[in-house]
């Protein structure tokens, strides 16, 4: 989670890219069109020209994504996972904030709980991005509770400097890790270093 423009999507692009390199099945669910995502991807030097994810997008993908159709979203994801159950699966999505803004948060909470129960039957990982500053704190807390891991990307003011820092708010199976990490995007991926003030 983080504010718009900080690079949450880039994390998703690199996660998808590394999955494709390892021959995992990668599903990219997006509210954007594939053309817009591919434009963005180029800016981060991620190469989707050789290996491409399975697109579930608002335009140009194998399946058309409709932000108002929760049932369709759930059905399609489960169906795709079922068809690729013999492979490791990565699901990347940027639709969570849109879903939360267009529906009652408790409806989305129930929807995600059910979806995650189904997804966990497979060898799969879901990475979802969440816009900060667009949802009430109770909604953010509920989402944090629902996911196994939460990575927070934020901009911090330190004197006259603006620093993009990362924090691990929660990671299942790993002891709590207080502290901040510097992060940046290079040609080979996301670089993370401990921040020590």
């Amino acid at each position: 989670m983080g504010p718009p423009g900080i690079g949450k999507e880039a994390l998703g692009y690199w996660f998808t890219h590394s999955g494709l390199v390892q021959n995992d099945f990668c599903l990219y669910t997006t509210r954007l069109s594939t053309r817009e995502v591919l434009q963005d991807v180029k800016a981060f030097n991620v190469d989707f020209s050789q290996r491409v994810p399975f697109w579930f997008a608002s335009g140009g993908g194998q399946i058309k994504f409709d932000v108002n159709d929760l049932a369709g979203l759930s059905y399609n994801i489960k169906d795709i996972l079922k068809k690729n159950s013999d492979r490791r699966i990565r699901v990347v999505t940027d639709v969570l904030s849109s879903l939360l803004m267009l529906n009652q948060p408790d409806a989305i909470y129930k929807f995600l709980t059910q979806l995650f129960t189904d997804v966990k039957q497979y060898d799969s990982v879901v990475l979802a991005t969440l816009e900060e500053g667009m949802h009430p704190p109770n909604v953010l807390a509920a989402m944090q509770q629902l996911f196994d891991g939460v990575v927070e990307l934020r901009l911090y003011e330190e004197g006259l400097r603006v620093l993009p820092l990362l924090r691990i708010r929660k990671m299942r199976g790993v002891p709590p890790q207080p502290g901040y990490y510097n992060f940046s995007f290079s040609k080979t991926g996301m670089e993370v270093k401990a921040y020590s003030g």
Binding site: P3, P4, G5, G133, H135
Partner: protein, 270 residues
């Protein structure tokens, strides 16, 4: 502040008398710290953002501050100049620079707001409208710069006066000259409030626009009338402050909690 330095250097070269004016010195003392601080924040935020659309918005904001500073500086200093050629060249170029930059920022803000909209709504068909508008803007700039060049080279007093006042006897030239400023004003008044109303969940964008709107109001008051000494400089400072707040509210900025900072581990001595 490169534009400001270039401006100052060329004034120093061509019109050294302008620097004797207390107005210019006062303008520099009052504005340089505030305006450069605003530019600094806009560019610092631009540097750390990862997505091009939002970087463009921050870039536009930073360049707007430079353009405002340049335009106000030219406005104050050219009042004491006797050369019509120099006055016209500086005022036309700085004014057009400001208008183009404002249009660029409006465009970047519209595209960024669409990206953060949950339904990706294209407010008032901006993504389609922006292309012909940019085209028309380039044509207008080309025409105005050609007229300016011609008037400067031939020292055509009538044309120079028309460029200064924006009042042309030829209707086509009058329309061309004012097109860019009218379109930018129209887009600023119609499109920006529309996305501010629509993006009710995006508090950061609304705060950025609110400070920018306050800046626009102060600028309007400043340009409307001749204000007495304490009010005029105070307004110039107020404009700098609102631009600074607008720059800083491009993104939500947090404070680092000292309790969560991992202490630096020094390697043991060999």
């Amino acid at each position: 502040m490169i534009a400001g330095l270039v401006s100052t250097a060329s004034f120093l070269l061509f019109v050294p008398d302008a620097f004797i004016s207390y107005k210019y010195a006062a303008f520099l003392v009052i504005t340089v710290p505030t305006y450069s601080y605003s530019v600094y924040w806009a560019f610092s935020i631009r540097r750390v953002l990862a997505v091009r659309l939002y970087r463009n918005q921050a870039l536009g904001m930073g360049v707007i501050v430079i353009a405002i500073w340049l335009t106000l500086g030219v406005f104050f200093t050219t009042q004491s100049l006797s050369s019509l050629q120099l006055t016209t060249a500086w005022s036309t170029l700085s004014f057009y620079f400001l208008i183009v930059v404002l249009f660029y920022w409006i465009d970047a803000s519209m595209l960024a707001s669409r990206r953060s909209d949950p339904l990706l709504r294209d407010t008032l068909y901006w993504s389609k409208l922006r292309i012909p508008l940019w085209g028309l803007n380039f044509v207008t700039i080309g025409v105005v710069l050609t007229i300016l060049g011609y008037a400067e080279i031939t020292d055509n007093v009538t044309l120079l006066n028309s460029l200064n006042s924006g009042d042309f006897s030829n209707l086509i030239l009058a329309v061309m000259y004012n097109f860019l400023s009218v379109i930018t004003l129209f887009c600023g008044v119609i499109f920006l409030p529309a996305i501010a109303i629509r993006a009710k969940w995006n508090k950061t964008l609304r705060k950025h626009f609110a400070w920018f709107a306050l800046f626009a109001v102060l600028l309007f008051i400043l340009l409307m009338g001749s204000l007495p000494p304490p009010i005029g400089p105070a307004l110039v400072l107020g404009i700098g402050y609102t631009l600074y707040r607008s720059s800083k509210s491009l993104v939500p900025l947090n404070r680092i909690s000292p309790l969560d900072v991992v202490p630096k581990v020094e390697p043991p001595p060999p």
